[in-house]
């Protein structure tokens, strides 16, 4: 009994996306394809125990799912018999399902990926749908990972699928002229997914609800980045993304201390970085750069690689890091990139130069509410020997921070600056006037 159940579970992980993609290609309807795929797995659970596990579980599941989709379409047609039009609608679909076509599981996965990441869908819908469709995670699992109620997530997924159907988003790999734009949409969705999980590694797992589920998202994102790099092997940026997430994910065990305080790069125990994953990330990056078509993910991965090579912060090639941030900023002029660049400026040219770069960003509305703006300012003020300003900036950051690990880090820094004074909160209101937002 256990072997077939384990086989189904195994197939769920490895075959879900392929089966879903194959059926969606035929019926052109993600919702129906999902229903049919789910049914196929349920059937497998029943029949594999009785008849044994088939030689090619994926092919078996695809056939079973197609059959189920045909049944549903037939039923719909019978129900709609009275209206000749509805029957006409169902007939060609049914023929298409029955006829099948050459199977290319990778191509089915790629179509699925592009469809789930179509920019006409809201970003949160793209992220959720990609996770649901390509990893086989169930709706409750996806809901847990994003810390939203199951009903909310179910609705988000239903809406995204409905929009695909109602606005006529085609289930396909985009044509050449849209390829670059759509590829960046896919990579962005995967990176958002990764960040969602990776950020949880900087949180105190014991004190933050759902932290373990969120951390697992980073693993899923790395797997999907691997898939994207393989499927999009003519896109160096796909490999750039894979290199970036590998190099960052390798640092996960060092991102929070046992005390649940976020560890910045400076304070991380680099012995806890996973060297095998770093080695893989570096190989993937070299491979990507060899194509000679750099992009933002390759540049970010190159920055991560410089950190990976360095023994500590002092031994980091900051001049090179800064040069890469200049390149990145030219490619993607974003204030968050500019803030990271300011940190590198401070390392190369001193804290005052860094502060000038930070203060140049203070008025940017995109950073209003971002706690890292005053947090970086505080760090640089401390280094510049201006503790009072540093304390003000820390209080401003504390008013904005929403991550527990970061909050503890800010509190610890504030306590170090103002021994014996903090905790009363007498002058915390003055700090709230900062112009920063949340990340």
């Amino acid at each position: 009994m256990t072997a077939p159940a384990a086989a189904v579970e195994d197939a769920f992980r490895t075959e879900w996306g392929r089966v879903l993609g194959a059926v969606a290609r035929h019926v052109g309807d993600l919702d129906l394809a999902e229903e049919a795929t789910q049914e196929a797995f349920a059937t497998a659970l029943r029949t594999w125990a009785r008849d044994g596990v088939p030689d090619r579980p994926g092919a078996w599941l695809t056939t079973a799912a197609r059959r189920h989709a045909i049944d549903v379409l037939r039923r719909r047609r019978t129900e709609a018999e009275k209206t000749a039009t509805a029957a006409r609608l169902a007939a060609p679909l049914e023929d298409a399902v029955a006829a099948g076509g050459p199977d290319d599981p990778d191509l089915d996965l790629l179509r699925l990926l592009f469809t789930c990441c179509h920019p006409a869908l809201p970003l949160e819908g793209r992220v959720a749908l990609t996770l649901r469709s390509l990893t086989g995670m169930t709706t409750p699992q996806v809901a847990r990972a994003f810390l939203v109620p199951e009903a909310t997530m179910a609705q988000r997924l239903v809406r995204a699928k409905k929009r695909i159907r109602d606005t006529g988003i085609a289930f396909r790999v985009p044509p050449a002229q849209l390829r670059a734009e759509r590829t960046s949409s896919v990579l962005m969705v995967l990176y958002v997914l990764f960040t969602e999980g990776y950020d949880a590694w900087a949180e105190p797992a014991d004190d933050v609800a759902g932290c373990a589920d969120r951390r697992a998202l980073a693993d899923d994102a790395v797997r999907l980045a691997r898939l994207a790099a393989r499927l999009l092997d003519d896109e160096p940026e796909a490999r750039g993304l894979l290199a970036l997430v590998l190099l960052q994910h390798a640092r996960r065990d060092a991102r929070a201390g046992a005390d649940g305080v976020t560890r910045t790069l400076e304070d991380q125990d680099r012995a806890r970085w996973r060297r095998d994953e770093i080695a893989e990330g570096l190989r993937v990056l070299d491979d990507a750069l060899a194509a000679g078509r750099p992009g933002p993910y390759q540049v970010q991965a190159a920055i991560a690689a410089l950190h990976a090579h360095a023994p500590d912060v002092a031994g980091t090639d900051w001049a090179e890091v800064l040069a890469l941030y200049d390149v990145l900023l030219a490619m993607t002029p974003s204030p968050v990139v500019a803030l990271n660049r300011a940190v590198a400026v401070a390392q190369v040219h001193g804290p005052d130069a860094g502060l000038a770069a930070v203060d140049a960003l203070a008025a940017d509305p995109a950073l209003a509410g971002y706690h890292l703006l005053p947090a970086v300012r505080a760090e640089l003020c401390t280094r510049a020997g201006r503790p009072a300003e540093a304390a003000d900036a820390l209080r401003a950051a504390l008013a904005l921070v929403d991550r527990e690990g970061d909050r503890r880090l800010l509190l610890r820094r504030l306590a170090a600056l103002t021994p014996g004074r903090e905790g009363g909160g007498a002058d915390q209101t003055a700090a709230a006037s900062g112009s920063v937002t949340s990340g």
């Binding site: 209206t83 006409r88 006409a120 006529g168 085609a170 849209l178």
Partner: protein, 114 residues
């Protein structure tokens, strides 16, 4: 699928180059994607009708609650959303500060998929 392209006129047109509307119409009539389309008279000629509590209320422009003036519309038949968006991007109405809204039709019996 069928889409309605609503041409929303810019508040202040910029003077950039715009594609030629006649050429756009000719091309999409020829390739079969354009079903119909018209230019509309200015906002001053627009009347609004509302029936509330059984009473018909007709109002004139100008319409303070909406700055968006519909300058025209086209109905196009496109294989998918990307194709419809591409047709909209070639429409002069989406250039020079204007906007073309792409509205997918609610499916009815009259438009079976290809």
């Amino acid at each position: 699928m069928r889409y309605l392209l609503l041409v929303v006129e810019p508040d202040e047109p910029d003077r950039g180059p715009t594609p030629d509307i006649e050429e756009w119409v000719r091309r999409h009539d020829a390739d079969g994607s354009r079903v119909l389309g018209e230019r509309l008279r200015p906002a001053a000629d627009v009347r609004r009708v509302r029936v509330a509590g059984g009473e018909t209320v007709v109002t004139d422009g100008p319409f303070t609650e909406s700055k968006d003036v519909i300058g025209g519309f086209d109905v196009v038949e496109a294989p998918d959303l990307d194709a419809a968006l591409a047709i909209a991007a070639e429409h002069p109405g989406s250039w020079g500060g204007g906007t073309v809204e792409v509205h997918p039709f609610w499916p009815t019996g009259s438009t079976p998929p290809a």
